[in-house]
Structure formats: C-alpha cells, structure tokens
C-alpha cells in the first residue's frame, strides 16, 4: 500500500521507503486548510462560513504543531476558537432572520474577484518558490512525525515575553550559541499588547452596549470580552 502511495505522491515517501508521516500530515492539514478556506469564500450562508472558517483555522493549528510551534498552535486553537465562536454567535443573532441568512453577491463581482485573486496567488506562489534556501527540510524523513523533535517551545517563548531571550539576549550581553547574535526581548510589546487588550475590552463593551434599552446592554459586552481573553 505504502509503495503505491509513495509513487503517486513522492512527498510522502520516506528515505527508507516507507510512508513519511510528516509529509502525510502536512498534506492532510494543508489540503484541509486550503479547501475549507475556499469553502468560506464559496459559501453563502453565514453560519456555514463560520463553520468552515473554524475548521480551516483548526487545520492551520495542526500545521503549526507540525512545524514545531506547539505553543502557537495551542494559542491558535484557544483564541481563534473563542473569537470565531463569538463571530458565529453574532452571525446567528444578527442574520438568522430569513432575508439575511445569505446575502448574494453578483456573479460579475465574483468573477472579477476570482481573476484578481488568481493573479495575486500566482505572484505569491512564484515568490514562494523563488527562494532556493526555502526548499528542503530539516525534518527527518524517518518514521515519527517530527513533533517532539523540536526543543520545548513554551518556556523560551515565555521567557522572551518577559524580556529574556534564551537564544542570545541583548540585555545581558549573552550571545546566541548558534550564531553569536544578540536579540532583544519582547517585554515592551507584551506590555503594550496587554494595555491594548484592556482598551479594546472597554471600547468593545462601550460600542456594543445597546442604546435603545438600558437593561439589555450586558449580554453583548460579555460575549465580546469572552472572545478576546
């Protein structure tokens, strides 16, 4: 079975002739992410769009796990699911009435957008293929999915967010063991983002409060804060 699959799609073939699970899962998640993203565009019903979007984002989280960025993958699952969940709820609340379930776009616009999008895609893919250093992989082609192969990613990320870079720190003058560079931590952006989130929390609650009836302002604010976390 495996050899025929490998002949069909050589990206799946491992060095030793078996099935390359890393390639297999990459292909699976990539296809899922792309097809569902296209489905988001093609669908008219807003709830279905949100459903496809969540699945596409989930598949992308799978891609992050495969790339060794476990923390980012988990973050994507947690925040995007929370955020998109809220999107879905709003979609239901605002558009569940019959005339809004599907707002149609003229076919002419769709064709035009498809042409422009196709051209953009061609340029981007050309760019993606043009870097010779970007091809090839460090992942071992052997049996296991190279998931655990990377270093534990959460601790260095957390340290970087509080301002200490494990891979070469500019504050202490430590140089990275690999390339002798120093890098700056992310304490300031981290603080800015936290203040930004607070501002957004207040702003969203203010914007979403109902101006007609005083009593029903709470629900929208609750939901929108839940999505940000």
């Amino acid at each position: 079975m495996s050899s025929s699959v490998a002949q069909l799609l050589p990206v799946l073939a491992a060095a030793e002739g078996g099935l390359n699970w890393h390639g297999f899962f990459f292909l699976l998640f990539a296809l899922l992410a792309c097809c569902l993203a296209v489905a988001v565009v093609l669908a008219d019903n807003v709830v279905r769009m949100a459903f496809y979007l969540v699945l596409s984002l989930g598949a992308t989280a799978g891609l992050f796990f495969l790339a060794g960025a476990e923390f980012v993958g988990a973050m994507q699952l947690m925040i995007y699911v929370g955020g998109t969940l809220v999107l879905l709820i709003f979609g239901v609340m605002l558009t569940a009435q019959e005339p809004f379930v599907s707002i149609k776009t003229p076919v002419r616009d769709k064709v035009l957008a498809g042409l422009v999008g196709g051209a953009l895609l061609a340029v981007l893919i050309q760019a993606a293929l043009s870097g010779p250093a970007w091809s090839g992989s460090a992942a071992e082609g052997g049996g296991g999915v190279a998931l655990a192969a990377g270093q534990p990613s959460a601790t260095p990320l957390g340290m970087a967010l509080v301002g200490i870079r494990v891979d070469g720190d500019v504050a202490s003058g430590e140089k990275s063991p690999e390339d002798g560079q120093v890098r700056s931590g992310y304490l300031l952006p981290f603080e800015i983002v936290s203040v930004h989130l607070l501002v957004v929390l207040v702003g969203a609650a203010y914007l979403a409060r109902s101006k007609r009836r005083k009593s029903s302002g709470g629900q929208g604010a609750d939901l929108s804060t839940g999505g940000m976390r």
Binding site: G18, G142, L147
Partner: protein, 409 residues
C-alpha cells in the same frame, strides 16, 4: 516500546509508528465509549439511590449491569430524524464535532508515567483549548435544528462556556506556575511521594483554587446545576431537542467523556496524577520514587490511581447533579463573573506570594530529592550528566533562577 519493535522485532520505522498510533487511538476510543457505558449505568444507579429508588435491576443480573448496552441497542434501532427546516449538513455534522473535540483532548492527558497519547510541551494548554471546541458542536446543533428551544439552549451554552473559560484558565495557571511547566507529565511527576506533595495541599490558596476549579469544570461541561443548555423544565431538551438515535448518543458520549476528562485533569493538576496518596510502590521497593525507572506493575498501579481519581470526580459530579437544583441563567453568570473570577484572581496572586515567601513549602515532608521532571526540563543537573551548566544557584530556589541558568546553556 517503539525502540523495542524497531530493534527487536525488526519492523520498519514508519510501520511501527503507525501501529502505535492506531493502538493509542483504539485505547482512547474504547476508554471513551466503554467509560460512557459504565458512567451512564452508574448515573442511573447513583440517581436512584439518592432519590431512594433502586434504579435498573433486571437487565443483565440484579444490578442492571447491561442497562446501558440495552439502551445503546435501542438507540441504534431508532429512526434518525431531521426537522424539515434544518440545515442538513450542519445538523448531521454537529454531534461529531462535539465528539471529536473531546476525543482529541484525551490525546494530551497522561494516564500514567509514559502512558500518554502524545506528550506535549504545552499539554495542559492544549487540553483546555481542545476541550473548548466541544461547545462548537453544541452551538451548531442548536442553530441547525431550526428550533427555538435548541437555539436558546445553544446561546445559553455559548455564553456560559465562554465565560467560564476565564476563571477555569486562571485556576489552571496556578498549578502550572507551581510546577513551572505546562507539560502534564512533569506536573504530575512533581507531586510524587506522599499526598502532602499534592498541589491541593501545597498552600491554602491552592486548596481554594481546587474548589473553584471544580465549580468551573462542572459548569464548562454543562452538568447540573449548570446545565442551562438542556434545562428540561424550560427548554424541553435544549440543544438536542431535535436529535434522536445514534446522533443523540454521540452528544452524550461527548458529555460523559469530557466529564471524565476534566476530572482527570483535576487529578493531574491538583491530586498528584498517577501518584497515590501513599507511595506504595516506593515503600515496597518497586520504584525509586522518581518515576523514571518504573516497571509494568508500578505503571498499572499508577493507571489504577488516575482512573480511580477521575472516576471519583465523575461520581462527585453525579452526586452534585442529583442533589442541587438548577441555577437560573443570570445566577450562572453571576457565579462566574462575580464570584469565580475574582476568587480565582485573588488566589492566583496569593499562591504567587506564597511561592515567594516560602519557596520550599511549609509542609515540606519531601527529602529534597530531585524530581525527574526538573532534570528533563533542564533546570537541574541530571544524574546522567545532561550538562546543563547550572551556575551556583541553590537547587531548591525558584524555577526562574534555573531558567536563567538555562539561558547560559
């Protein structure tokens, strides 16, 4: 085990990994399905005893052992209905979304040392994130059913679960902070030894946090008194009003397995994971207490420990369900936003202060031996000489110092 198969049996690498993956998946799936059968039977018996009844007594012997199986067969034979105005695709897919979410969360839960579907560096974060996906299936079901009851149930569930994730996350951060890692295996390993090492008894703040976690966990898996999504006295059956047959039972399997999952997570985070209250294995000399050199017997013991703790958690949830009345939706939100979240935040700050004031702990009956988790994460110098070049920082100092030592690695 992978090395054994590759080297001794001589299987090619990819086949070994595939076999192991299928094996883990089948084990977890059976745990979920079998667990649901057992728990549904247990729920009937527990509820009956609480209400001074007998519960199932005939099917399969005098205790009604086979009642859930009979129920399953009945569900299989039921007609698969779909309302006329329903959104067909979403209606069909929703139960599987719920089920897959709680199945995927099991991948990260360790059952004993090395008995974990996939050991993730961000284990606890992953489990919570994936478990949060379960609500998605419920909302889809509520929307797609084209029924007012279902939509109300789904909306309530969405508001409730999204809100309760905030205090739940804060509670989970406390043991993560104590352990200094998000790896569930390491968190459990660090509580090895006597039960005084459990994070439940680490300090007064963690003790409170545990109960807040229990409240939020019950709410986040939609069990009474927080089962607003399916409040049968108000909403017929809530989000699954329109479901029947096997699809309906998928929702229930998801519910029972996520109950089991949050109980297992509580066991790992606060109750020592697979480490029993008394380190029997160490006392008997089967293990050296570090968990690294454990034989099959010790692992089975650990498995029994964890399953026992998780089952106890599920039984407590049943007890709560059948003795407390349901809250109103505003009371549910009040509990979350006005009580659980502030308490969790204060306890988080308190636990942090405690860690700063008593870095070694107060009730520390531990002999100060180095736990394998700390060695593996590179905080401490390992016995096998994984040279981590720890500077002169004292061993039992806060993890942050050792982290900085890792910087210089």
């Amino acid at each position: 085990m992978a090395e054994y198969l590759i080297q001794t049996v001589g299987l090619p690498g990819w086949l070994t990994w595939s076999l192991l993956a299928v094996l883990s998946a089948v084990l977890i799936l059976n745990l979920m399905a079998g667990g649901a059968l057992v728990f549904i039977w247990a729920e009937r018996k527990v509820s009956a005893r609480i209400q001074d009844r007998l519960g199932p007594t005939r099917t399969g012997g005098s205790f009604g052992w086979l009642q859930s199986l009979a129920d399953g067969i009945k569900l299989l034979a039921k007609e698969d209905l779909m309302p006329e105005g329903a959104d067909g695709m979403l209606f069909r897919v929703a139960p599987y979304v719920s089920f897959c979410a709680s199945f995927a969360a099991f991948i990260g839960l360790p059952f004993a040392f090395d008995m974990v579907g996939l050991r993730l560096n961000v284990g606890v974060f992953y489990v919570v994130a994936v478990l949060g996906l379960e609500v998605f299936g419920v909302i889809l079901a509520g929307y797609a059913s084209a029924s007012k009851w279902s939509l109300f149930g789904a909306m309530r569930e969405a508001a409730q679960v999204v809100s309760y994730e905030v205090p739940l996350g804060m509670c989970i951060v406390v043991p993560v902070m104590l352990a200094g890692t998000m790896d569930l295996v390491t968190i459990a390993e660090k509580q090895a030894g006597w039960f005084t090492n459990w994070y439940l008894f680490h300090d007064p703040f963690t003790f409170v946090v545990f109960w807040v976690y229990v409240t939020c966990a019950v709410a986040s898996v939609n069990r009474a008194p927080f089962d607003l999504a399916e409040a049968e006295s108000e909403l017929v059956a809530g989000f699954h009003t329109e479901y029947s047959g096997l699809r309906w039972s998928f929702f229930f399997m998801a519910e029972y397995s996520s109950m089991f999952l949050v109980s297992g997570l509580a066991a790992v985070l606060f109750l020592g994971g697979w480490n029993g209250p008394v380190p029997i294995a160490t006392l008997l000399g089967l293990s050296d207490g570090t968990g690294e050199s454990t034989g099959a017997i010790v692992r089975l013991l650990g498995l029994a420990n964890l399953l026992g703790k998780a089952t106890l958690g599920v039984l407590i949830m049943m007890w709560i369900r059948w003795t407390l009345p349901r809250l109103r939706i505003d009371q549910v939100m009040t509990t979350c936003l006005k009580y659980c979240t502030p308490i969790a935040a204060v306890m988080f700050a308190g636990a942090m202060t405690w860690l700063w004031v008593f870095p070694g702990g107060v009730l520390n009956l531990d002999d100060g031996s180095r736990r394998p988790g700390e060695i593996r994460e590179g905080w401490l110098e390992g016995p096998g000489g994984r040279s981590t070049a720890v500077s002169d920082a004292p061993v039992d100092d806060a993890p942050a110092l050792a982290e900085i030592a890792e910087v210089s690695k």
